[in-house]
Amino acid sequence: MSSTDTTPQNAAPENSAAQDAAPENSAPQNGAARSVVAEHEAANPAANVTALIPQTLGGTFRSYARRVRSGDTGSVPAVVGAAILMLVFGLAQSSFLTTSNIVAIVQQAAPNTILAMGLVFVLLLGEIDLSAGVVGSTAAAVGAVLSVKHGMPWEVAILGAAVFGAVAGTILGWLRAKLNIPSFVVTLSAFIAFQGVQVLVINSKSNGIQITDQTLHNLYFGRLTPAAGWAVLIVSVVLYALVKLAQANARRRKGLANEPFAVLGLRVAAMLVFGGLFVHFMNIDQAADWQQREGIHQRGVPWSAVVILGLLVVLSFVLTKTRYGRHVFAVGGNEEAARRAGIRVVSIRISVFVICSALAAFSGLVLAGQLGGANTGDGGGNILLYAVAAAVIGGTSLMGGRGRVVDAILGGAVLAILANGVSDLIQGGNSAAYELIIDGAVLLLAAAVDSMSRRAKS
């Protein structure tokens, strides 16, 4: 316990206490350290414990870099990974960074990303839902049956699928929370059983139901008009800035420290630049000239991207701004502490399975849109495991207590880029085999980053 190395920094007001690596040294180590502390206390007679927030742009970056170095890597691995993959594939094949391929990647990422968003809730409690993929596609089959066999409008089909998912999630959650069966066992059983349910729901000799409703197709293939794409971007950024300013204002009224405005400015600028690039790329018309002359266009931000943005906003709000979300984190971090704090642990546990299965239903509908219908076997195989991989690559912990909804998007993007790039890069009979090996290696890498970051922290 040496405080000498931190003593010089203590004199600098900007990060005086932030760098104090030895906060517990009540016994004075040496004269110099004591006098610095005494000076500090004399200068701030009411030196309350507050939130240490760096007050300069440089300080913010340094504090972020320190957090990453100390093992709190957050989304850094996913962002770096996505950038490297884009670079490698872009250099290796000229067709990778074309407009049509980037649009395809965004669309291909959607079902897996939505599934992963739901899984984040389950993973936050340190649970797993192995059945989400199959339950989701079974729910989508219910939606397809409602739409095709009963002629219901698409709203009813989506609602029916969501209700089916929610009910399935309630059963899974109840079995886990009330009967205390490990979630691995409960959801593995459900993974198997729901594949049977799926066959019964589809109940067709051709093992599939072709969906005819254009809106259900558009869940995957739909595109916004170029103007609508820009409008969504501008409205999102403005709302983000307003919410952040309101929060800063509330903190200032309480006399609490705020991030420097430059940080908010940078964030907004980054959102505008990257969001703008995204919308611009998506809006490039891929239709041939003669088609464009006929008024046929192939452009715009995919619906699925807007749906994912909407889900991101809503689910992040629930997780970080509501009492419910706080309780989810508490149960994931320390179940006993949560129970003693009066949190209804059983309800929280059931609820995350409901959210996960309902989102899985939605993911299944998008997948059905992609495939043109609901088929037996959809949602099985590795689909669920890819969604878990997406969440983990994004930075959500498998051990519970740590995770964000945006992780699902980052990880989903990495996996979609990987799948798309590898399948084009490796041609020949064994391309699928190499793809599997590479996917497995990437997931292993992500899990290694996760466990190393946890070891660095302890």
Binding site: S26, N48, V49, R323, F329, N334, A338, R340, G342
Partner: protein, 263 residues
């Protein structure tokens, strides 16, 4: 054992059995405002059971539970919380993945009235005040994750939580058990300051030095009975140890020392 003021918490003849095992055999106990009452006793003497009865985790089988002079029925932890009784458990019950503010408000989060969203600014402000009222200087930032805190800092957070809720009676279960010398001194300081704020503090401890240093009264349990509840200034360490191990010390303690035969 006469007191000038009415004790805020008074138990009379509390009994508690688990099946055929009688753990508490008619306990009398009291805690006063502004005082630290040390609850001592050997393993199995009934300290934890008594505390859980006070905190509502266990219901009492018999006896009287008086709070601020009037009899009350405590059916669960929520009843005890409503009265203003807080227990800081040995294993602390903090969530590692949450920060100090989030832990201090766990289960009782402040909400913005209009939007029903978490009022982070208000919670951070109040947490800072609670820590300041205890002159806590050992934590860097109220937005630190609890996983980054030392044992002493965790104990500090758990204790400061009780200030936040205007508790009247605070029960601390072995707060210094796992701490080093400097941290123990800090936590004992904190215990004293809690009492100085007018709370009745009940301190469970095995460490006689801690007990003598910080407590105003000592209550010694011996095999499910209250051996004695005396002013700390009236006894020395040897007497306390005798009360713990034998149930009596000179004129103090249980009258019938032949426990085995009496039962």
């Amino acid at each position: 054992m006469s007191s000038t003021t009415e004790p805020i918490l008074r138990l009379r003849g509390i009994t508690k059995s688990f099946g055929p095992v009688e753990v508490l055999k008619g306990i009398d106990f009291e805690a006063h405002r502004g005082e630290v009452t040390a609850l001592v006793g050997d393993n199995g003497a009934g300290k934890s059971t008594l505390v859980k009865c006070i905190g509502g985790t266990y219901s009492i089988d018999g006896g009287e539970y008086l709070f601020e002079g009037s009899p009350v029925t405590v059916r669960g932890p929520r009843d005890a919380s409503a009265l203003g009784i807080e227990i800081v458990y040995q294993d602390l019950a903090l969530a590692d993945n949450l920060d100090i503010v989030q832990n201090m408000f766990l289960g009782r989060e402040a909400l913005v009235k209009k939007t029903r969203t978490l009022d982070e600014a208000e919670m951070e402000h109040m947490a800072g005040q609670a820590l300041a009222s205890l002159s806590v200087r050992t934590v860097k930032s109220v937005r630190q994750k609890v996983s980054s805190l030392s044992g002493g800092q965790r104990q500090t957070v758990a204790i400061a939580k009780t200030v936040l809720w205007n508790s009247k009676v605070v029960i601390l279960d072995e707060p210094t058990a796992a701490l080093g010398v400097a941290q123990t001194a800090q936590v004992l300081d904190l215990v004293r300051r809690l009492a100085d704020q007018g709370m009745a503090v009940i301190l469970i401890s095995h460490n006689m030095l801690d007990v003598l240093k910080v407590s105003d009264r000592v209550a010694a349990l011996y095999l499910g009975r209250m051996a004695a509840q005396v002013k700390t200034s009236d006894v020395n360490q040897t007497q306390i140890v005798e009360l713990i191990t034998a149930g009596r010390s000179g004129s103090l303690g249980l009258v019938e020392s032949t426990n085995g035969a009496a039962a």
